[in-house]
Amino acid sequence: MMEPPFEIEIPRGRVIEVQRDDSRVRRGGGLLRGMAVIWKHWKESFRLNRSYSQIHGTFTIQYPEEKPRIPEAYRNMPILLYDDETGHELCTSCFQCERICPPQVIHMTQAKDPATGKPVPAVAEFIIEYDACMSCGFCAEVCPFDAIKMDHEFELSTDDHAQLTVHKAQLNRPISYYASIAPTMWAEVRESALKKLQGNIRRRPDVIGIAPHLTERIAARRAELAAQAAAPSPAAEPASPPAPSAPTEARKLTPEEKAAKLAAIRAAKAAQAGDGVTPSAEGGTPAEAPPADDKAARLAAIRAANAAKKAAATDAAPAATGEPTTPTPADDKAARLAAIRAANAAKRKQAADSVDTEEGS
């Protein structure tokens, strides 16, 4: 059997016959050599090794304490992105992902303008069945608005099957989160994504298209402001509870909103600086009361009035519930002042362009 190894030449290579060498009398040397290999592994295993170029040492990652190194491109489950600054979701419900999804686990409904009933480039509800999702990443690849991305979170185990049908509220992640897990991949698309977002925000009325957990807060705040605006007539009723938690929560609003609210508060404060009746809930604002800033206050008032108007006109539900019950945190004078200013501003601005564009720019 011990022939010279057989081989012939073929284009760019050879056909080689494996060397069997199985007819030799064996005396246990192969066993000892195998044991030596194992011994070396045992000896070296007390050293931790993470290098790709070595074959000895322990490679174990002690999982819960130590997380595995996850590359940027890693894809597990899809998530939806929203803009940190405005709270607007990037998704426009173009249905591309729903169409491409091989296991058909993405479901969405497009938002409609309640006033006109026309579709708005935003998504009303977005459901992904995580349990059937195969993590192929086509949805993220195909999305023209970079609204759907693949998450790195993999600890999704649960004992509740229903939890794996994930709705929009749980799918939403801020852009900053995605930028932190996949910096270069986000950097590649950032420009175009944000540009497209701006275009879409313009076509979204009211809170449509804002991440739901923000929407509620925004709506609450707007209702509150609207109540403030509507306060002049029933101003006599004093508010029994001074201020609900809504304004504090609203502190987590996007900077824009925050600025507006801050301005309103400051305006109110400035209007009745001497009274010293500062609503306790607004203690979160910087302690030093800034000088009355007319412009800011006006801006706030404009926004409030705008919101109030819109709320009264179109979005009846939150307004209706919000208006009568929402207590006015400021006192009479401030409310009146704000209302008057709001009314003025509203009158003035109504002729001009849309308020949103001015505010946005």
Partner: protein, 440 residues
């Protein structure tokens, strides 16, 4: 134990208790110790094996329960206890229940003759070695019962394989022991251990060798071959890789344990690991001096013993502790080797296993028996026994002659046997082919 208690109670305290009471107390203490130690060894071994083999595979092994996972076996035990005990519908219930007991009982019984340290033999039988192997053969019956009572083809097949393997490999195991027994001239495990005092050379073979407790049999050609043969046979008896055919999960699921669950399964596991411990222990005792080691004999000479009742009890403790340390160290090293083999090798097929046992190991041990006879003749016999050649030789020369001759015999036999074994397999293939062509 009896001596110490006797010295302590009647000597130190002077209470004058009757003999039988002391005897009873010492027996109870010993039994308790054994019944506690045996399962503890098993628990430790499962942990030890998993950790070591994990390291061999570049893993870490169980390290979650307790520091470095040391309570893992306890957790496993709790799991075993709380599992449902399932008995198959078609099983023979009584036999199915009895089988694990019959398997466990002998392994515990075998502890009775294992010396842990100087003067620390639970029962010092004059036939203890024979007892050890006699009792170990009982568990084959238990396996048979388990395999048959489960009423499952895989179980029965596994049990038959296990029993066939145990019975066949008992022969080379005992044959390799007989070589040692011939040299020592006693079946008592204690005298075998005592024989291994010395330094590389037993001071019974060559008087005048300083006693460091290192005159192990493994340093002689006879002992070395016996050790290799015995260890291989022990692997087969303990159903360890590469002879773990009875529970070859890639072939017959879990062998005779297939239909067992819960604590009964745990008992099989217990029996297996305790048996492994005992086999490692007996290997250490027979070929590596058991508790022999530097210092033990010196300490023990000053302790309370039947021959030296005025000794100091402290030295009993010291010698015992040192002896137990040496003994367990050796045992654990052998278990490490078992795990090492498990990490390195695949398993043999049942017919190859039988071939190896009958056609290789048994001839090898038989030849080794001859070597042992030569050894005894050269080192001990004189003119009276008919060994006229060695008359007038100095002990060193006799020892050297014995060493060289046995070494030559054993190496020659080994080389010849490997040749013959390989040739026999090729021959069988050839014969089959010839028959094939004859059927034309």
């Amino acid at each position: 134990m009896y001596d110490i208690l006797q010295a302590l109670i009647n000597g130190t305290f002077g209470w004058g208790w009757p003999d039988w009471l002391i005897y009873l107390i010492s027996s109870l203490v010993v039994v308790t110790i054994i019944l506690v130690v045996a399962p503890l060894q098993m628990l430790f071994f499962t942990y030890y094996e998993r950790r070591v083999i994990a390291r061999m595979q570049d893993r870490i092994g169980p390290n979650r329960v307790g520091p470095e996972g040391i309570w893992q076996p306890i957790a496993d035990g709790v799991k075993m206890f709380t599992k449902e005990d399932i008995v198959p519908e078609a099983a023979d219930r009584i036999v199915h229940f009895l089988a694990p007991c019959v398997v466990v009982a002998p392994t515990i019984l075998m502890f009775a003759v294992v010396p842990w340290g100087p003067g620390m033999t639970p029962v010092d039988l004059p036939t203890s070695l024979l007892f050890f192997f006699a009792v170990s053969s009982i568990s084959a019956v238990g396996l048979m019962m388990a395999g048959w009572a489960s009423n499952n083809k895989f179980s029965l097949l596994g049990a038959m394989r296990a029993v066939a393997q145990m019975v066949s490999y008992e022969i080379p195991a005992v044959l390799s022991l007989i070589a040692i027994v011939m040299i020592v001239g006693s079946l008592s495990i204690n005298s075998i251990i005592e024989y291994q005092a010395g330094l590389l050379i037993s001071n019974r073979d060559l008087p005048g060798i300083p006693d460091l407790g290192l005159g192990w049999f493994v340093f002689t050609p006879v002992g070395f071959v016996a050790f290799i043969a015995f260890f291989i046979a022990a692997l087969a008896e303990g159903e360890r890789t590469p002879f773990d055919i009875p529970e070859a999960d890639s072939e017959i699921v879990a062998g005779y344990m297939t239909e067992y669950s819960g604590m009964k399964f745990g008992l099989f596991y217990l029996a297996q690991y305790v048996l492994n411990f005992l086999l490692c222990a007996i290997t250490a005792i027979l070929f590596f001096g058991g508790w022999q080691g530097p210092g033990v004999n010196w300490l023990y000479a000053q302790a309370i013993t039947p021959t030296n009742p005025d000794g100091n009890g402290l030295f009993n403790v010291l010698a015992g502790a040192l002896g137990v340390f040496y003994f367990l160290l050796k045992t654990y090293i052998f278990f490490f080797v078992m795990v090492w083999l498990r990490g390195a090798f695949p398993r043999l097929r049942i017919d190859q296993l039988m071939d190896f046992g009958w056609k290789f190991l048994i001839p090898l041990t038989l030849a080794n028996l001859f070597s042992a006879a030569v050894w005894v003749a050269f080192t001990r016999w004189g003119a009276a026994e008919g060994m006229l050649i060695t008359v007038g030789w100095s002990p060193v020369l006799r020892w050297l002659a014995a060493f060289i001759i046995t070494l030559a015999i054993n190496i020659g036999v080994y080389l010849w046997l490997t040749q013959v074994y390989a040739a026999s397999q090729a021959e069988r293939r050839r014969v089959e082919l010839e028959e094939l062509s004859a059927t034309l």
